[in-house]
Symmetry: D2
């Protein structure tokens, strides 16, 4: 039985805590949060204790840390945990600064601990199912990937200002999808975008709509379109054209009810947002993390995957500013 | 906190035990099974104890019993539990014999306990979502219901011989759907059928394919078609025509992957069988049962619903044998 | 080049005239209608002449007659045309009276002419595509057929009163589908129904909603549900369960636009009514008729098919009145 | 009645000839083709005469010319026809050379004749239906357009070598869709691509897979992905995100049959290629051309639209070569 702690008792911390508590082979011992009542409530819900980071890292029984606190704490916590010899599950991103993130990865490597980054989309049943079929050769060699990734609405401006920009905050997941599905690294990135939904986003120095083109070393193409505001909800799809066919990953709906009125035939909107859409994926990634620790097998989304996605986000940001494609090394 | 026991540690008992264990407000204290090692394994998985029925009913802390043992034990266990003042959740059917089932219901009524029958389909997100929209008047008054209910394959002959026949064993769920969706009681039932997939089913005195027509007191029509063997899997759909439109409840798929090959465009088969298809429904019905006990509110699927569905199964069986429609009282 | 005449310049006569005019190998020479201006307008639109029935049948150049006049004229016109040695395409039904229809068929047989009945649904690309795949063995042996057949609204009462009742007027197409798809003749028919949409239909002696169950000689099952009024339009679907799978024939939509709003995801309603839904089928049946005449090959929907469908309609009508299933000889 | 001639009796000339022949208000008088037997066969099929271009343009009865000959003849024929005072329907493109195409447009303007370019996709029921709903404000202001445009296979190398390259030959339709749907002109174009399906395409100096990003003057975004070879056939879809929702235009299938086997649920592939997919669109564009001539109303796809699409193709070609985005004037 692995004793674990969750750091961060916010929206995503709650998800992880529940999944840790519900998973065989792992036990939730501690919850930490800078907001103590939040930590307390979450700990009580799962029969765990409240502790601070030092207490957690100082407990030799603790083998695994789940980091779900704010982005700026990720790198320091990863390093502290690694030095304390704890295995780490950390929400994306490692850090908004690539140099800092690389230093962090070096620390993890030196410490020899497992560090998994929470690219939960790879564990979504639909996305994972598609990837498995692609990997099995069902449509031959992948040639082109089209990713549609839209949120139901923009986050608060305060969040946006500290987010690192849309490419680092929102597209980092899509960059990971690109690498994972095309099985090839980016050669060049071109990014453009606009602020179309709300001028205050532009005032905050960001955009809300992007179009990104990635060309891989093998010449495969990936086009990503994103928007902060899709009036119909959370839109998470991709499709990959291969030499022998195509695989599409569609949205998931709450129910399979179809309604026929005098005017139209209609179905449900997609699942409302990431907590609903990726409910199963969040559980599956924790299960995968635990299985990796128990079996000593590698994790599927490493800190290196976190760095690679961040490199793409950086390149896209530079491309957007310069107006020209950026070639990666 | 409600202390509960699960009786029966088979396939469906395991589902209910896990849902009881995972639900707030209720605690799994005991598991019982005639096969002691099965009870033990299930109890241990959820930190519960093994007990026999007498021990469970004799423990004054126990407020609720979940009956998931074989069909022939349902009626005696319901009666024992009722007399012991325990609230009851029981898998369908109450009994294969209507007279016996009625006696059972009388005992429950005298005891004044809650008795919920596990018509889990009413708790399926798609079916429940449809019913809520129908009840809200979205398509006006219901006029016609078409139910398609097909299993991926027939159960073992040994099971079939003791099942009470296809109308009592398989269509009892569909009869409940009919009453629930049309909101009206049957006036007449006509049932016909055939044995088409496997002659040994006929040898066992049963059929594998049925077509049932129910006409309600208000003249609404329900047609149910069932098959023991659908080569493509578990098919659970219905559609209701109303005066202002139609609502369809479709199958649920494991993933939303669509594959385009040189020959076809394809999607997943429906969820494999009832354990997968109704996974959320099983959890929701236990949550509903607990909420009813906690809040003192009525349950949605009562022992009377169990009787009414059984009356329809009886009528359908008689219609099939006689070749003529049967009028209900 | 086959010279042909169309008798009847109403809605369906116009369709047939245009298809005859547009088909290679056949030429529209005459149009006849009891309403002379209607005949004139239609004739002029296609460069044809107006004639009366006697004139048409007396012209030795005429080889083929398309009968699209009112139902009560079908039998006499078929007989006159047959005796004149003309090949015949006649809209369904042959006659509302089975004895009269049989006499008519005898006359056709004696005359040795081709007589095709306009069961256009067999020529619909979707329905015909399904049947071809079924016949090729794609899903093994057919076991169960579920037919949904609903109109957008009831015809005028005046029409209803002379229609022969819903089983002869509306379900005759569905009875033909049953025979065609199951490839087996009916052993018994049970029909029930109600008047739910408009009491004046009941006053006119008819019903608007039916549920019909047919059991074939091989024990295959067919359930047909029909309604005169589906608020969402014209609903024409069927699905056949076979020993190795299922084939569904869905509705056809005017466009493939999908709209995502803040409330729903929606697509087009089905094609509005039979003229739109079966536009291609009407053209294909005329092409088939012409090809049969040119090549001396048999037609796919014979006058015998017309009789058989009428026998089923008669049996269903009797079953509805008696409340008991009717066994066919 | 408008007398018309079709120049070019190849695949697309046959389509136009049949549509001209079948349309009220216009009459096919002549067919011309450099391959005389082709012209003869097509003329005979529609009761027209064979003529050469001089004969056609010299006949004062001729009001309209449909140009369906090879691309290199478009510009000279447009100019000759314009100078002869004939109205013109010309297949895309006006010319592969933008300067030449502009000169051609000047000639048309001077002559004051109608010149419609055959961007038939604007007349496809699905695409046109979507655009009408967008124009009616159903989803607010358009913000992002995603176009998927894939052929079932590459044309012969000989064709490719004279095609002007994939951007001029294949994407010219997609560039027209972009302008039509976004209702805004391009500000910048970035194009990249690869040769992935067949190295001989690269040897011929072309590519087979492209990703193009257009940013309009209003900041709207359009991403186009194309491939010469989609193993599953002809894929023609687009979707537009607006401020209040999204509209998708899907592929069209030959039938609405869905097949359920032991392994999968499958539907038809999309219509095979452009002749099938745009069958209705080809008829509708000719009907629109005729209506414009008869009513003196403007055509929907002018020679200026042809120039604008060509400007985008030129810009995309330059962007691909230079590796940098191209700003339009």
């Amino acid at each position: 039985m692995i004793d674990a702690a969750v750091i961060g008792a916010g929206r995503i911390g709650k998800i992880h805590a529940a999944n840790v508590a519900g998973e065989d082979g792992i036990r939730l011992k501690y919850v930490a949060d800078v907001h103590e009542p939040g930590a307390r409530a979450l700990a009580e819900a799962h029969g765990a204790q409240v502790a601070d980071v030092e207490g957690i890292l100082g407990d030799p029984a603790i083998q695994a840390i789940v980091i779900a606190s704010s982005t700026d704490t990720h790198a320091p916590l990863i390093e502290q945990a690694a030095r304390a010899g704890k295995h780490i599950f950390c929400e994306k991103p490692v850090d908004l600064d690539l140099v800092r993130a690389r230093a962090c990865a070096d620390t993890v490597t030196s410490a020899g601990v497992t560090c998994m980054i929470g690219f939960q989309r790879r564990f979504d049943p639909t996305f994972a199912g598609l990837q498995a079929r692609l990997a099995a050769g069902e449509i031959g060699t992948p040639e082109m990937l089209v990713v549609t990734s839209r949120d139901p609405g923009a986050p608060p401006l305060d969040y946006l200002r500290r987010s690192g920009g849309i490419f680092r905050d929102m597209l980092i997941h899509d960059f990971d999808i690109c690498r994972w599905i095309l099985g090839d690294e980016a050669h060049s990135v071109y990014a453009t975008g606009s602020c179309l939904s709300d001028p205050s986003i532009a005032d905050a120095g960001d955009i809300d709509s992007t179009a990104v083109t990635i060309r891989t070393r093998e010449g495969r193409l990936c086009v990503i379109n994103t928007a902060r505001r899709a009036a119909y909800g959370y839109d998470q799809r991709f499709e990959v054209l291969g030499s022998r066919g195509m695989l599409q990953a569609g949205n998931v709906r709450p129910t399979e009810v179809t309604a026929f009125s005098a005017h139209t035939v209609s179905t449900d909107l997609p699942e409302a947002f990431f907590l609903e859409r990726y409910r199963d994926a969040y559980a599956a990634e924790i299960a995968h993390f635990v299985a990796a620790l128990v079996n000593g097998t590698p994790v599927r989304t490493t800190i290196d995957d976190g760095l690679k996605a961040l490199e793409l986000a950086d390149a896209a940001s530079r491309s957007f500013v310069s107006g020209a494609p950026v070639t990666l090394e």
